[in-house]
């Protein structure tokens, strides 16, 4: 099915199951620990041996010699994979560095060997006996030092490197009010709770990988390319994924080495990347340096806006496209955005939840707060004044498909009690706390992707959906079941959803918050095909038939789906393909974050007291899980604002704090009340679901609201994230 004209009324609009809050259908499996994750497939691959990864001890250079004798002689060792015996390997399109290093070393902790043994204890111990001689080379590890060598990156998901509209320099020069500030954001770690993990087994030349992966079809292709085998010989199974946030968009070393190890020893092998290895072995969100200039009139109406971004990555890598939102969020005829990419020999930078916007808004939305103050305009009102209902780079001929930023700001402010904010910083005390409020706009692009599904009804009238879509905590199981239930007119309990298997039709997968809208649209397409088949069997015209209560109905005639399906059941498969509506219309999701913080008057400890937000993201398919997505992302925004930072040792070229004791993410005690309001919205240009993504919107701007609240509480303006105690104290000393 092709989606190339705006949706009209369709079965989803009935809204009996879709749009209603539902408990997750995968809930009972998750809360009882019976949902199987990748390292737990005793059922599918009994007798799996244990692989342990050896990571490089240098950041850049070459392996001179490898001595495996001691390791091979260690108890229980079954085999050791290195570049010397792995055979010729390719590299996936999405991997920047090789998943198995050697002889060239591209980054610290790059996998250089896999030790396989009969037990985890033996594998882990023997891994320490692998002796590797390295010839190190000088690397580049300091973004600030390499910044001026940056070049325009190749265009990717974030669009072109640079955009220019009007004449920024001229507009900025004559502006009555000018903001010109630089901001930095550090490298960040996804830190999902389940480490990257894979169980691999070969049957002849057929490989099965039970793995933890967001993108099944991509990753089949990537593994095929890396192993140099046909993709049809690879099966990927990933029904449960313990979080990903982008880290598991790609095939990582666990999958490749489990496959190589299993081939070597002729037995299933399982590999998890050890937690202390993850930050340096896998991917991270790259650090940025950002400069923002805004020229406005005295009322705060923007005339010129520029956002320049510098980031770094390994050779062949990509940029952090942190100026993305600045191309679309606010008005102004004179515009400039640039991205520059420097070569760094740190571990591989890549996508983490809302790549681009998550860190871009940490800068832009603080700059807007600074503009509001400079103009003496309320920060909520400032954003409303600068709303624009079309793509400001393309002009009015490219309107937004739907854009309710103003509603989010107004209703969010009302609900939060924004009018109680004292605009003058440092004025509100509550015991030992200085209290402040901050606001920030939320913006995240709405991406869509082709997505397929297979749907069947059996002799009991039970509906089954199969798609290689993944559920990384996003609630895919449930919204897909809701979609199928709505389309087929059966209760939610009558739907079984099977996900995350490359034997199922190819879906859009989970990433870039495109998954929910795209994958349910794919189910919609398949369901339309099944409805047509059932109608034909019933002898009803498909466009007139109603599907409800397990029946197909026409006027006062009806037949049970179960009967029509018969003993064999009836199946249909289709996919949703998206036309150019996302070119003709700018499509994005919007919101407004509000945050109240307390800052200790002496110690500068920051405590978030409450958060609230209003969000417009099209139809909210399951308000219950969507709310959870948003509050979870808001919390990740708190982490970005207050604590998350991979610290770079620029001498050795690695992230020093590479475990969860040192890389801090928010805990229960950091997170108080969080209030989420979804603004009613249907986006008929996004898909027949009239939904948009919501999984990443919540992080976008959340950290800036925290930063702005700290400013309002203390009068201290910080522009280098995370906003830790030491920085607040230093700024207070200067102030």
């Amino acid at each position: 099915m092709k989606f190339d004209t705006p949706a009209t009324t369709n079965p989803i609009d009935r809204g009996r199951v879709i749009g209603i809050p539902h408990d997750r259908i995968d809930g009972p499996a998750k809360v009882t620990g019976t949902a199987p994750y990748a390292y737990e497939r005793h059922d599918a691959a009994p007798n799996a041996a244990y692989g342990w990864i050896v990571g490089s001890a240098i950041a850049k250079g070459r392996i001179g010699a490898i001595d495996l004798r001691a390791a091979e002689a260690a108890p229980g060792v079954l085999g050791i994979v290195t570049h010397q015996n792995a055979g010729p390997l390719g590299k996936g399109n999405f991997n920047t560095a090789h998943l198995l290093g050697g002889p060239q070393i591209e980054h610290y902790e790059q996998a250089v060997a896999l030790v396989i043994a009969d037990t985890l204890e033996n594998a882990r111990d023997a891994a320490r006996l692998v002796r590797i001689d390295y010839a190190p080379e000088q690397g580049r590890f300091d973004l600030a030092a390499e910044r001026d060598k940056g070049v325009p990156p190749p265009p990717g998901f974030g669009g072109p490197a640079d955009t220019k509209t009007g004449d920024f320099e001229a507009g900025f020069a004559k502006a009555a009010v000018k903001i010109d500030q630089s901001y930095t954001t550090p490298d960040q770690s996804h830190a999902m709770m389940e480490p990257h993990a894979t169980t691999a087994a070969w049957n002849g030349d057929k490989l099965t990988l039970w793995t933890s992966n967001q993108m099944i079809a991509w990753s089949v292709g990537e593994m095929a390319k890396t192993l140099k085998i046909p993709p049809e010989n690879i099966r990927l199974v990933s029904p449960y994924i313990g979080g990903g946030f982008g880290a598991k968009l790609w095939v990582r070393a666990d999958a490749l080495l489990a496959a190589l190890g299993s081939r070597m020893i002729g037995r299933p092998v399982k590999v998890a990347i050890a937690r202390p290895q993850i930050p340096n072995n896998t991917v991270h969100r790259p650090a940025t340096i950002q400069r923002i200039r805004i020229g406005a009139d005295k009322q705060g109406v923007i005339d010129a806006i520029a956002h320049e971004v510098w980031s770094g990555d390994l050779p062949g890598g990509g940029a952090e496209t942190a100026a993305q939102q600045t191309r679309l969020l606010y008005r102004g005829p004179n515009r400039l955005t640039t991205h520059r990419l420097s070569t760094l020999d740190l571990p591989e930078g890549n996508a983490m939840r809302a790549p681009g916007e998550a860190v871009g808004l940490l800068a832009l939305e603080v700059a807007m707060d600074e503009l509001a103050e400079a103009c003496g305009v309320d920060p909520v009102e400032l954003r409303i004044r600068n709303d624009v209902q079309y793509d400001p780079e393309a002009g009015p001929q490219r309107p937004f498909s739907s854009r309710k930023l103003i509603e989010c700001l107004r209703e969010g402010a009302e609900r939060f009690g924004w009018n109680r904010r004292n605009p003058k910083p440092g004025q509100v005390r509550d015991g030992r706390w200085l209290v402040g409020m901050g606001v920030a706009s939320a913006f995240r692009n709405n991406l869509v992707g082709k997505s397929g599904a297979r749907i069947g009804v059996d002799a009991e009238g039970h509906v089954i959906v199969e798609t290689d879509m993944t559920d990384i905590g996003t609630g895919s199981y449930t919204i897909i079941a809701q979609t199928a239930a709505e389309m087929m007119g059966v209760p939610l309990e009558a739907v079984t959803v099977r996900l995350g298997d490359s034997r199922f039709p190819v879906s859009a997968g989970s990433g870039g918050q495109w998954g929910a809208n795209s994958s349910t649209a794919g189910v919609y397409a398949a369901a339309m095909a099944l409805r047509a088949k059932l109608a034909e069997k019933a002898g009803f015209p498909a466009d007139k038939a109603l599907f409800e209560d397990g029946l197909i109905r026409l006027g006062n005639q009806s037949q049970p789906l179960a009967t029509l399906a018969g003993r064999e059941g009836l199946w249909a498969e289709d996919s949703m393909e998206f036309g150019d509506l996302d070119k003709r219309y700018a499509q994005a999701t919007f919101g407004a974050h509000f945050c109240e913080v307390g800052v200790d008057i002496d110690t500068a400890e920051v405590r978030v007291r409450r958060m609230g937000g209003a969000f417009a993201a099209g139809r909210i398919l399951n308000p219950k899980s969507a709310r959870s997505q948003v509050i979870g992302a808001m919390t990740m925004g708190v982490g970005a604002a207050l604590m998350e930072e991979l610290s770079v040792d620029t001498r050795f070229g690695f992230f020093v704090n590479h475990d969860m004791a040192e890389y801090l993410v928010p805990v229960h005690a950091d997170i108080p009340q969080q209030d989420v309001l979804f603004i009613d919205e249907l986006d008929d240009k996004s898909s027949p679901m009239k939904a948009k993504g919501v999984g990443e919107l919540g992080i976008c701007g959340a950290g800036a609201a925290v930063a702005n609240a700290i400013y309002n509480a203390t009068g201290v303006r910080l522009r280098d994230y995370p906003l830790t105690i030491d920085k607040i104290l230093a700024a207070q000393r200067v102030a």
């Binding site: 030992r432 610290s647 704090n657 805990v667 229960h668 030491d726």
Partner: protein, 315 residues
């Protein structure tokens, strides 16, 4: 984790005797030792389980103090009625540390032996004089934000990570131990932890095989007990700075500090400065500080934390 053999000691004397053999280590709660063994920072060849020796009691002493068995879990020590009433700073310090799960396992004796959280100590590919004497210090010119500013040396700037030990230092606890020869002695807490000097790998005054059997507190000090821990998140994180204090009714007070020292930090001068206020205490406590550019803020933060305590005391 290197292979090792495991035994359960039947008596304190047997445990101490066995421990004198090469490569043997006691295991109590295991929350720090096993963490380090997995990374091969600790590589014992024999583990002696000392969890079943009856060292888990809290008893009053003839002197009016309290004897805390070495195997008393952090949770139980913090919750003990006498400790809550008479040594509240110890309860507070314990409860500020780690997580509920860890406190349920971690022991009084083990906590005293907790090793540093310096990230260079934790990565065995990095130089670290504490882990591998003579290999250098990665931290001094590296990421040192969390590390010590007091009691450090050119060989090591690792911070002592314990909260409990800071309170014990404040309370003038004694560490009771039994040696391989069965001999018993008590070590004042002030002398228990050693400064790194040229030998940062030697962290305490215990002799090989010596087993901590209890910690003895002198009779209660009275006064107002506080423990204030400042960290990068609200819970489950190590201290940037912590201050344990007992404010006496007579204006005499005492202070001990965590997060800033190579060992739990306390000075007579700081205690003596108490009547002069927070700034004077801070100045006295921080005398001789050798911060790096990254952790120099801990001086100001120490002063601010003291100011906070004084403010609350006055409130």
């Amino acid at each position: 984790m290197r292979p090792f053999t495991y035994s359960r000691a039947a008596s304190v004397e047997e445990a101490a005797k066995t421990a004198a053999t090469q490569g043997a280590r006691f295991i109590a709660g295991g929350t720090n030792l096993l963490d380090l063994m997995k990374l091969q920072i600790e590589t014992p060849t024999h583990l002696i389980d000392v969890n079943h020796l009856g060292l888990d009691r809290i008893e009053p002493t003839a002197e009016g103090g309290l004897k805390i068995g070495a195997m008393v879990r952090n949770t139980d020590l913090a919750a003990d009625k006498t400790v809550r009433r008479d040594y509240a700073v110890l309860s507070r310090a314990l409860l500020a540390g780690a997580s509920g799960q860890l406190r349920n396992k971690a022991t009084t004796g083990g906590n005293l032996l907790q090793r540093t959280r310096c990230p260079y100590f934790y990565d065995t590919r990095m130089p670290c004089n504490k882990r591998q004497p003579g290999s250098g210090c990665g931290a001094i010119k590296g990421m040192s934000r969390s590390l010590a500013i007091l009691g450090t040396s050119d060989a090591c700037i690792a911070q002592h990570p314990s909260d409990m030990a800071v309170a014990l230092r404040l309370l003038d606890a004694q560490v009771d131990a039994v040696g391989a020869d069965g001999g018993r002695r008590s070590i004042p807490i002030a002398d228990f932890h050693l400064l790194p000097g040229e030998t940062p790998h030697i962290e305490n005054a215990l002799k090989p095989g010596e087993l901590i059997t209890s910690v003895t507190l002198p009779k209660p000090l009275g006064g107002t007990h506080v423990y204030r821990k400042v960290r990068d998140r609200a819970s489950y994180a190590f201290a940037l700075v912590s201050v344990a204090a007992v404010f006496g009714k007579d204006g005499r007070s005492r202070f001990a500090f965590g997060g800033i020292g190579a060992k739990p930090w306390r000075t007579d001068a700081a205690d003596a400065a108490a009547p002069s206020g927070a700034a004077a205490v801070a100045e006295a406590a921080l005398s001789g500080a050798r911060p790096t550019a990254q952790n120099a803020f801990k001086q100001q933060l120490t002063a601010r934390t003291l100011a906070s305590l004084y403010r609350q005391k006055g409130a």
